[in-house]
């Protein structure tokens, strides 16, 4: 989905608040929320793709205003409700007030049966696709051409795994793009290398 989480290349954000070496958690509830997400993954309630997609489905105003660990907590709550562990009403009752969750999921999809393998050094184009469900293609590479620089072992295909559609496994490629290709005349000179699933790519 073209969600608010897809931030790469969005303009208008200010300085990075950079404080090297500072603590990771600032409040006990943040550590508790993180521990909860780890425990629920370990218990098999959800996989990492379902977890990421639950965060992406947060209402955009909520997403932007929530801290990182509020997003973590919200994903846990959304998935507990969607998987029948509890209900939205029960969570709100126990929390003593409104408990914002997330929008429902759109359908997922399987990997492409005709996805081609690519060799290191090959030029590839990111398919010009608009996917309603979970996808790990950042919008800034859609339709863009890059060069394969490495291949990674097969991973669960996120567009399927986030929607519990079987066990599609697919390799990813580290694909290198120039910022000039990604944002012509509108970016600083660099390369950006993105881990891209095979199904997202076609020959350039």
């Amino acid at each position: 989905m073209d969600g608010i989480h897809d931030l790469g290349g969005k303009q208008g954000f200010g300085r990075v608040e950079y404080l090297p070496g500072t603590q990771i958690y600032h409040h006990p509830w943040e550590l508790k929320a993180n521990a909860l997400s780890a425990a629920l993954v370990a218990a098999g309630l959800f996989n990492m793709d379902e977890y990421r997609h639950a965060i992406e489905r947060m209402e955009p105003r909520h997403y932007l205003n929530a801290s990182y660990y509020e997003r973590v907590l919200t994903a846990c709550a959304v998935l507990c409700v969607e998987k029948g562990v509890t209900t939205a009403e029960e969570l709100a009752r126990r929390a003593g007030g409104a408990f914002p969750l997330a929008r429902p999921s759109a359908p997922g999809r399987h990997m492409r049966k005709d996805a081609a393998a690519f060799a290191v050094g090959e030029r590839v184009r990111v398919r010009n696709e608009y996917v309603p469900g979970h996808v790990r293609m950042p919008g800034y590479i859609r339709g863009k051409v890059g060069v394969v620089i490495a291949e990674s072992p097969a991973f669960p295909f996120p567009d399927a795994a986030a929607h519990q559609l079987g066990h599609d496994m697919e390799p990813t490629y580290d694909v290198r793009f120039s910022t000039e290709e990604l944002w012509p005349d509108s970016a600083e000179r660099a390369s950006v290398t993105v881990a891209v699933f095979r199904s997202y790519l076609e020959k350039a």
């Binding site: 990492m48 507990c80 939205a88 409104a98 969750l101 800034y140 390369s191 290398t193």
Partner: protein, 210 residues
């Protein structure tokens, strides 16, 4: 599924975040999904196991042992395991990015906040914030400059966006003044920021301290 509509005009009806955390924990406990003691176990991991010291030991060993360095560049997870470092099951690949005098690598995750956290430590606030995630792919030099790392134009900038479960770590450039140092001394100067790529360890980008 009915759910309370988030109303930004009326945020006071939203339950306190601490109570929301407790509510989810309570229902998960009731269903046996979360066991008593899980918080203590997780806390121990983030405080004592998943720390930048793990990555620093890997870096120091790679700086002093060419054969290990070659193995690390080829298969990061297997080489890290030689030093006792483990990665979670869903991190299937660790790619090590070597900084040199003329190449600078920088890691981010624009879609969420993925990192090789068992090796370089849990991601810091700034790595997870909207500003870093949005800007670093498009204006990396300016962002690094604002963060105190002003790189000359001659250094090639390579940004890596962690969009799959391949994880990246930067192998920092070894400061020339550290010739002859022990692995322990070397590991002590390697920071989480240097393994993400928002810092370099050699002068003039860092002091030539002992």
């Amino acid at each position: 599924m009915s759910q309370p509509e988030l109303n930004p005009q009326n945020p006071q009806n939203i339950a306190d975040i601490r109570h929301r955390v407790d509510a989810v924990e309570a229902v998960a406990m009731d269903q046996g999904l979360v066991k008593p003691g899980h918080l203590q176990q997780f806390t121990h991991k983030v405080e004592h196991e998943w720390t930048p010291a793990v990555g620093a030991a890997i870096v120091a060993h790679a700086w002093t042992n060419a054969a290990f360095r070659a193995r690390l560049m080829k298969n990061g997870i297997a080489a890290a395991a030689e030093l006792g470092a483990t990665m979670p099951a869903h991190h299937r690949h660790l790619v090590v990015l070597e900084n040199t005098e003329s190449v600078h690598n920088l890691i981010c995750c624009t879609l969420c906040s993925c990192t090789a956290y068992t090796v370089i430590g849990m991601p810091p606030d700034w790595y997870k914030n909207l500003e870093y995630r949005s800007r670093v792919v498009r204006e990396s030099r300016t962002v690094l400059g604002e963060m105190g790392l002003a790189l000359p134009e001659g250094i090639e900038m390579r940004v890596w966006d962690t969009t799959a479960d391949t994880r990246y770590m930067v192998l920092p450039y070894r400061p020339p003044h550290t010739a002859g140092w022990s692995e322990k001394q070397l590991a002590a100067i390697v920071t989480k920021e240097a393994m993400i790529g928002t810092a370099r360890l050699e002068p003039p980008f860092a002091a030539a301290g002992v």
